[in-house]
């Protein structure tokens, strides 16, 4: 038995992601300076911060797209590379990044096709690709090509695709940034439903303070020049959350507090 399963057996939770004194540099430029952080498994984190403060870089660091210049990053107790090979995390980009020649269903199936010929053991969601499309509200559109879908629908296909390998960690980089407010509200509710049903850990980057408060259990606030961790704010609002909660005084207080932090950056 390795250390990870021992920990799990002992009931102590392995953090979904853990950064220890992590730095990221692009040449001389420091994008992330000395971040230490533990992401609790199963939690929903929103990530806020001024443009260029390293939010995307942080997600790219955790997902093994870029290496740390110094420090350590682990995902569920493994190296980021081992976690990537085991498909423990999935990424949702700002634009859906669907393959335009594949139908919605075929796009969702893509992760299952990759690696199979090499005999790699990929985890598979209990839900079929079809059921995942249904989960994100796209029943009946599974054979549509991406260009036949709206921006919000494409993003939902991307979310279904991200869930198809049963990830334990979902990294989302402004997934709803390009959508109108109504669609965004709708998708926020759907995302919370997915989170509650699957128990996945979510790191959700956004530019919108209300969105960050509405979704997250915690908000990670980063600050710029160079990118550092500014503060972690706990959002003690009950789930399931509803749009009406936005008008409550607590919600407004959290928003005002975060706005203050953002302006101080």
């Amino acid at each position: 038995m390795d250390a990870v399963s021992l920990n799990a057996a002992a009931g102590t939770q392995v953090p979904a992601a853990s950064l220890r004194n992590a730095w990221v540099k692009f040449g001389q430029f420091t994008a992330i300076q000395d971040i230490s952080l533990e992401i609790e498994a199963g939690a929903f984190y929103s990530i806020l911060g001024p443009s260029g403060c390293g939010k995307s870089t942080l997600l790219r660091l955790v997902s093994d797209l870029i290496p740390p210049a110094a420090g350590e990053v682990s995902v569920f107790g493994k190296t980021t590379e081992a976690a990537r090979l085991a498909r423990e995390f999935a990424f949702v980009f700002q634009d859906a990044t669907l393959l335009p020649w594949r139908s919605a269903l075929k796009n969702v199936e893509l992760p299952l096709e990759i690696g199979r010929s090499r005999g790699i053991d990929i985890p598979v969601s209990d839900k079929s690709p079809m059921e995942l499309l249904e989960l994100v509200g796209l029943k009946g559109r599974e054979h549509a090509l991406p260009h036949e879908l709206s921006g919000g629908m494409r993003q939902r296909v991307a979310i279904a695709r991200a869930l198809v390998c049963k990830p334990k960690l979902l990294l989302m980089d402004e997934p709803f940034g390009a959508l109108d407010e109504m669609t965004r509200d709708h998708l926020n509710l759907q995302l919370l439903k997915v989170w509650e049903e699957t128990g996945v850990t979510i790191l959700f980057v956004t530019h919108s303070i209300p969105e960050a408060v509405f979704l997250g259990q915690k908000v990670l606030m980063l600050k710029a020049h160079p990118g550092r961790l500014h503060e972690i704010v706990d959002i003690d609002l009950p789930y399931p959350r509803s749009i009406a909660q936005r008008d409550t005084p607590e919600f407004t207080r959290y928003s005002a507090h975060l706005r203050g932090l953002l302006e101080a950056c």
């Binding site: 990044t97 393959l99 020649w101 790699i120």
Partner: protein
């Protein structure tokens, strides 16, 4: 009639009017070039007759048309070899271009070594290189196929290299997160995303391969539309010459249409 019914009727008749307008537009779009062509042909016929232009300098369109009918068996006898050479050249040239493009995309060294040579070969006019190829390959089928292939090769190479590289960085990041192998990235992402580029190259090749085959036949052949063009010219059979040219461009149109149909079936996004 109530106000609502009135409004509905107005809307319905608006829709009907829109459909009618769309149909009219489509008709105009087809009728305009057809009418223009018919007028030009008429002016040509009239001009030749009025000014008494001798038949061996410029035949009337009606003479060309009757030659097309009378000489149809002879024209077809020369049509098939040219079609065959064009298709073979099209297949060989494009296949080579695609394979070399794949090699270029996988190896920067191969690209650095061979791309300048490909550019150099492309700068030699096809008319200048055709006799050399006929010397090398003889007056048979091979030389014509090689010339047709050569003329297709370069545009397809350039387009295919661009197509294989035109993958969005995000799609590549997605592949990386899925730990896709190089061959998986190629088959699942690069190759399909290059198809629109490939088809625009194939459309160019559809017409240039016919040019290649005809140029090859000019240099040395007894049969084929190119040979017939030379033959008709030197015998002052201008109506036959025009009919042959007409058939040559018909062949190009045929190949172009075939590629366009294939593109519609394959590139549905």
């Amino acid at each position: 009639m109530t106000a609502v019914e009135n409004t509905l009727n107005v809307i319905a008749s608006d829709e009907a009017a829109e459909i009618a307008a769309a149909r009219r537009n489509r008709l105009v779009a087809i009728a305009t070039p057809v009418a223009t062509a018919a007028t030009l042909i008429f002016l040509w016929e009239a001009g030749v007759r009025v000014f008494g232009v001798p038949d061996y300098i410029a035949p009337t369109p009606s003479a060309v048309a009757s030659t097309l009918v009378e000489e149809f068996p002879q024209l077809m006898r020369n049509f098939w070899p040219t079609l065959y050479e064009s298709l073979m050249g099209f297949a060989v040239g494009n296949l080579a271009a695609v394979l070399i493009a794949v090699a270029f995309v996988h190896s920067r060294l191969a690209e650095r070594a061979f791309f300048p040579i490909a550019v150099f070969i492309n700068t030699i006019p096809i008319l200048a290189i055709a006799p050399i190829l006929v010397l090398i390959f003889g007056a048979g089928l091979t030389a014509k196929v090689v010339i047709a292939a050569l003329i297709c090769f370069f545009p397809t190479l350039v387009n295919m290299v661009r197509g294989l590289q035109a993958v969005s960085p995000q799609a590549l990041e997605l592949a990386r997160i899925l730990s896709a192998s190089k061959s998986e990235v190629f088959w699942k992402i690069r190759l399909p995303s290059s198809l629109p580029f490939l088809f625009s190259a194939l459309k160019i090749a559809a017409t240039t391969s016919v040019i290649g085959a005809i140029v090859g036949e000019w240099v040395g052949a007894d049969l084929g539309l190119g040979a017939l063009i030379i033959d008709a010219t030197f015998n002052f059979r201008s109506a036959l010459l025009y009919a042959t040219v007409f058939l040559s461009s018909g062949l190009s149109v045929l190949l172009f249409a075939a590629v366009t149909i294939a593109e519609r079936l394959v590139v549905r996004w």
